[in-house]
Subunit: 514 residues, 2 copies
């Protein structure tokens, strides 16, 4: 907007105020007309662009959304619970830029590479928005020559998909990852990742769940034993991955028609992927005629056995299901793979929502080496918590009235029933802020008592300090409990002390009622 246009807008605003004042004061219609004419003259100077400054549809980009205070409160509460678990396991926090050199992302996501957002060429560098937090982690480890790290990373990632936004899926969304990098003994960090997921889902109280596990080496061995050519393993694997959404018959057809798997091989695969169980299943498969002859399958099955043993020691074996149909979409997994699935639909109001997969991950031992000039590997294993699904469940619960959230933490509202108390209110606010008390007041000079109390009720502020002439003269103030409407007089100099005691009592009550 040009400078003089901005000034013009200011003049129009002032002239408008003047006209309103004159009308309110019931000035002579002649006088009002005169000023209205001036206003119209000013408005006529506006270019059409300024008169209608908003010419495009006001919206956020496709597939994105704003998070309002209620959504942010839900999101921050969920993340706080998750971070508590990450920190309990000693994880450190890192962050990486929102964009990477395009080459860093190239060749990491298979078919999904087409979903990557590219930036315009910015003076020689070709940049893309990050697609996940795993590839940036691998780039970070290789670039910083770090061999061991246990880190969490919570940040937004970008996928130019056509997501079903009604189901809580967006093009910009939060990922929340926990990974352990380092050359360690088999399945020890892998088992801890499952423990972390189970602690998180328990803390979130989101319902019953099962932690499905499988092993990429077992899948490879299974494909080999069933007669799938080696260069067809990944493609077949990504077809198996669809079993959580499609029936076997459809998956079989895709294998045969699109992935070039023979009908006989597909049928053999079909026998295996129906299997799930625990240690006894791994034992049984180790004796399976075909699998026991395949090195990869034996390695995978031994791995699963060890993982289940560690899960027993960690006290989570009853949550684990060894499931041969679990495949995971991403190319880069090399060992154990996991997925946490809610076993019950979630109740929201009077309806039930099927949520399904709520966390996933696995071992990827070759990804860091792809960034190292000498192909030096840093083995990694990790898990990603599906926080967006968790957020949308919580949002739906709030919308259905099953859950309440307060979007601010204010404890005390400083109010006055009478006019000209702004100065006094300000002094008291400053005193309370300086004492660390979360305090608010009206930004109006002479707010109405009813509006002030309504604000407290609507936003859940538990206490109000109510100022009045007669009380101040007697050296007292009133404290009002908003819920009970009870009011007590307190000596002015004891106000801070008394409020701190009352807030502590309220917090104790709240925690006691949880």
């Amino acid at each position: 907007m040009a400078d003089n246009q901005e000034l013009l807008l200011q003049q129009i605003k002032e002239q408008g105020e003047l006209v309103r004042k004159l009308k309110a004061a019931k000035e002579s219609s002649e006088k009002v007309k005169e000023e209205v004419a001036k206003l119209l003259a000013l408005k006529s100077q506006l270019t059409p662009e300024d008169a209608a400054p908003q010419k495009f549809t006001l919206k956020t980009p496709k597939g994105t959304r704003d998070y309002n205070p209620q959504q942010m409160t839900i999101r921050n509460d969920v993340l706080e619970k998750i971070i508590t678990v990450f920190k309990r396991h000693g994880a450190e926090c890192i962050d990486t830029p929102v964009f990477e050199l395009k080459e860093v992302l190239t060749g990491k996501y298979g078919e999904d590479s087409k979903l990557i957002y590219d930036l315009k060429d910015q003076g020689g560098e070709i940049l893309s928005l990050r697609y996940d937090l795993t590839v940036p982690l691998a780039r970070y480890l290789a670039m910083s020559k770090i061999n061991t790290l246990k880190r969490y990373h919570i940040a937004k990632v970008y996928r130019r998909d056509n997501p079903a936004m009604t189901r809580g899926r967006y093009r910009e969304f939060y990922q929340c990852d926990f990974d352990i990098a380092g050359q360690y003994d088999l399945m020890v960090p892998d088992a801890e990742c499952l423990k972390v997921v189970s602690e998180i889902l328990d803390a979130l109280k989101i319902g019953d769940y099962v932690l499905k596990v499988n092993h990429r080496r077992l899948l490879d061995g299974m494909f080999e034993a069933c007669g799938v050519p080696a260069d067809n393993f990944r493609a077949t694997c990504s077809t198996v991955d669809k079993l959580d959404k499609s029936p076997w018959e459809e998956v079989r057809t895709e294998m045969i028609n699109e992935k070039g798997v023979s009908p006989e091989a597909a049928d053999r695969i079909g026998e295996y992927v129906r299997l799930n169980g625990g240690t006894e299943l791994a034992e049984k498969l180790l004796k399976d005629e075909k699998l026991s002859k395949t090195k990869a399958a034996v390695e995978g099955l031994e791995g699963i056995k060890l993982l289940l043993h560690y899960c027993e020691l960690l006290g989570i074996k009853d949550k684990i299901l060894f499931d041969l149909s679990l495949a995971r979409g991403l190319d880069y997994y090399t060992g154990v793979i996991y997925e946490a699935v809610l076993t019950q639909p979630i109740k929201v109001g009077n309806e039930e929502q099927t949520v399904g997969s709520i966390a996933g991950g696995g071992r990827y031992d070759n990804l860091v080496g792809m960034f190292d000039s000498k192909n030096k590997q840093v083995p990694c294993v990790g898990v990603s918590i599906g926080v967006e699904r968790i957020f949308s469940v919580m949002e739906a619960r709030v919308a259905a009235g099953d859950m309440r959230v307060r979007t601010s933490d204010v404890e005390v509202y400083v109010a006055s029933a009478q006019k000209n108390f702004l100065d006094e209110r300000m002094k008291i606010c400053a005193e309370l802020w300086n004492a660390g008390i979360k305090t608010e007041q009206s930004y109006k000079k002479n707010p109405k008592m009813l509006n002030q109390l309504q604000h407290c009720e609507e936003t859940g502020i538990p206490l109000a300090v109510v100022l009045g002439d007669s009380e101040l003269k007697r050296g007292v103030v009133k404290i009002r409990n908003i819920a009970s409407r009870e009011e007590n007089e307190i000596p002015r100099e004891k106000l801070v002390e008394e409020l701190i005691a009352r807030i502590a009592a309220l917090n104790t009550n709240m925690n006691g009622n949880k």
Copy 2:
């Protein structure tokens, strides 16, 4: 990477391991040679790209950086202190997408618009990365038809500048904003913003500071009184803004040569912008022959007087300096403007760093209206905390050894001096995690005692549980205080209870020593 190449890499890895094992076992050189030949044959199948997978320079995009655990710890500590103040004042939290429709940003930043990052056209939508958090806030208010909001927003913004990265300036950086939107009484929310800044700078203990204030209407009135044409106000204002970095003579020259201000007008401006003080200066200027005849100047001066009065009530008047040279770069300010400046260089190790401006903001009453089809205004005032500058001061202090940070919160390490204790360690870890104790162990089956204790010392873990055969047989475990190296035997079943008591005692000591 093609699927078969990935398998090939796996085979090479396995074959390499086999060769190493044979060599370690001192197998016959014939046998070793045979397997080495197989390894070389496998390697020869690699395409050049896979043999040297890393062909581009491994780096983050220009002007960006990763945040390592130490930097993130510093960052999270600083932000936690800031958020505590925001919440004390009842602010709610929002978030917006990292990119906006380009039209949303167009025409808001004046000359700096060239620094905006554009994305590639993604199927019809032209998108840009956000340049600040103020314009997205205004878009959000207009789009959601919200008339009142007190919110904070902490997120990364993007400016394709050529920043001096050594001085802590980047193309991707955090902004941390607090704003109050709503039609309220003059200067009431404006004064609270200054109180918020002063509470934050006090909490951060970053050194002495002054809160400079000025008023855009006073600047406009001053330019008018000095004879600058109205359509030249903004350009002249942005030249005055350079006074914090350049001497008056240079600014004067730019005014005359580049902004078309007459030498006489420039000299008159020069007289005013040298002035700073308190209420008495505002009083004096209200009697100034030229200014007192200019409506805008009087409005600005009356505003400053009222602001200073409120600052006195809020107990921060000694921090405020009314400074006529303060102009602020952005076009959209319409009323009060602020800037917090550290008055002393900061001591870092044996050196001193000049930090300067550390927060800034002001009132912008016309920005939301620019997004509304009926030009409906939502007056706003806010402040942005220069968190990147604060981060880099803290980072420098850590680097100089003036400050220590722990990047993980682990309280207890579960160790063993003997072999084959992994199962027992795992059980104890699970028990401690379930009790909410922040616990770690080695991911190795048989770690060396020295390495385990070293890890505790390096990362500041205060307590270790040390497992041994003889103790376990007697039903006890040892707890070791890492700092004092003192060890005590505790009955196995009292372990959790005892650790919780010790952690509580350590925390009390630490807080007592602060």
